[in-house]
């Protein structure tokens, strides 16, 4: 038992060591970057509305006047709503278009929708759907769903044909081949699509907020722009980055927990 304990402690040390090795370089890089930023602002005679100091940005990030938590909550709802829709509908669509040739006919339309500039579509959604969180959720969904669809379809189609032929030779029905062979094979691709879509969902939600919103992190940026409060713009960008990173981290954790082998 002591031997197992020693192994457990040693494993923990190894894991912690690995984490430190991976974390140290970006921490050092970040410290160097922030130091250069502060020195530039201090001694470079740069006006605060062009580049605010790091200290000013950090102070603004906790300034209650900007209601960061409230604004972040609104943006987070839009991002999560759009992302969940994109993930569920995207995976379903990806499966459907691989199922029959007829269904593949919708692929060109998906490509067209994905190519349309969301910043041009956003005002139309406001007029069609009204004012508030719902149009921004839709815009986040449209921004994020395409990589999920394509990656799902790619994963389902790109499989070693020997597996499928072997299963067919044994008389396995199509639906079982799909569930037991194609879908597990597609999971790494699906997770890749879901990870790509996290940042697209954030961008989509913010595009909607920039066009018309009273709340959310993008509306904070608009207020800050209107009064040349560049420090608040930077602060909002940091909160947006944290939101995007948070969502990405959640997806990574879900992947590790649900399908640890599909990395």
């Amino acid at each position: 038992m002591l031997h197992c304990l020693r192994i457990g402690v040693k494993s923990t040390r190894v894991v912690l060591g690995n984490i430190l090795i991976k974390a140290v370089p970006p921490i050092i890089f970040g410290l160097v970057l922030f130091s250069i930023w502060e020195l530039l602002v201090q001694f470079g005679d740069i006006k605060p509305y062009i580049l605010p100091s790091l200290r000013a940005v950090l102070r603004t990030m906790v300034d209650p006047k900007w209601r960061w938590l409230d604004q972040m909550w609104v943006t987070a709802i839009e991002v999560l709503g759009g992302y969940v829709m994109a993930a569920s509908i995207g995976i379903a669509l990806g499966v459907v278009i691989t199922w029959t040739r007829l269904a593949q006919g919708i692929l060109p339309f998906l490509v067209i929708v994905n190519s349309l500039p969301k910043i041009a579509m956003a005002p139309l959604f406001i007029i069609w759907l009204g004012y508030g969180i719902v149009p921004n959720i839709i815009i986040a969904f449209i921004s994020a769903f395409f990589p999920v669809v394509i990656n799902t379809a790619t994963g389902i189609i790109n499989i070693d044909p020997d597996f499928v032929n072997f299963a067919r030779a044994l008389g396995t029905p199509q639906w079982k081949i799909f569930l037991k062979i194609r879908l597990p094979n597609a999971l790494p691709h699906i997770w890749a699509g879901l990870k790509i879509s996290t940042s697209l969902a954030v961008i989509g939600a913010l595009v909607g907020e920039f066009i018309a919103a009273t709340r959310g992190l993008a509306s904070s940026i608009l207020h800050a722009q209107a009064s040349l409060a560049t420090h608040a713009i930077f602060a909002a960008l940091v909160w947006i980055a944290l939101l995007g990173l948070g969502l990405y981290a959640v997806v990574c954790i879900l992947q590790k927990v649900l399908t640890p082998w599909a990395d």
């Binding site: 062009i50 004012y131 904070s220 608009l222 207020h223 722009q225 009064s227 040349l228």
Partner: protein, 352 residues
Amino acid sequence: MRRKVLWIAEVGCLGLLLAVSGLAADKVIFRLNWIPSGEGDLAFSYVAQELGYYKEEDLEVTIQIGSGSADAVALVDAGRVDIALAGFESIAVARARGAKVVIVACFHVNSPYTIWTRADTGIESIRDLAGRTIGAPPGDAQRVAFPAIARATGLDPDSVQWVNIHPGAKIQSLAAKVVDATVHFFDQMYLYEQAIGKDNLRYFRWADYGVNPYGLMFVVHEDTLKTRPNVIQRFLQASFRGVRWMILHPREAIEIMQRYVPEVEIIPVTSMLEQSIKYMLFDNSIMQYGLGWIDPARIKASIDLVNTYYELPRKLSPEELYTTALLPHVTWPYPTEFENPNYWPLPYEFRY
């Protein structure tokens, strides 16, 4: 006996509920043209809300923060909002393209249009803009109507080079010398001074050169005009009472607005409001006819400008674009209402 009393009481309560529901306030969705942080004179609506002017008119008003005049007009035309504040050109262009929108009152009697530049560019008049760069987004009203001010001052409008920049980056672009000039509302003076320095700042107001189209106007849908004229009239009455109070108490008005929109910065936005009161909200017709007045000759001149310089599918006529039937009855404040009547028609000595 007791049962009878209870029964009468229940019926009475039910009757009261029914009566009260019939007396519910009229709901109005009002959309601003822009965000309050960037335009101080929008405080009037928050003043009217806070001081109960809308409530006195039996109105339940939802104030929507705007994202530009074009969006405001589109939302009115789509029936998503009942009334909006929008730039005159945006309303006129939308009307010419089929939108069923009608102007019901004037907010900015003088044009806010201004060309801003730095003294170090050597530009000392509008004519000096020949061969220089001006920053503005493609749909910017001042960019589209620029030939009007150019021709009035002897400048060839094709001799300037337009640089596409986001509206939120105009001041920074001029300060960083990315462009030689920008076009922006006059009430942005404080921010330009902060960015460029008072001594290095130069500006040219369109109104000073005789090109003075109407600015922001209140706009509704034709159907709203037919079905809810009384509601619109009460809304305008309460709103212009808010304008009147705002003129007398600019700083307090911005403080009220900040309670609703905490992102509003008091000093720059109060400065914007002061600029607006002095240069955009006041002229002699307001003294004679009251706040909100639409002068037939002025609106005709404004329409002529749009007909001339905008690519419209058809020419607009004044009769289809506005009505004075619902104008409020609110006067500009009297001298005796100011702490120091010497500053009348302004509430106090403005820095600008």
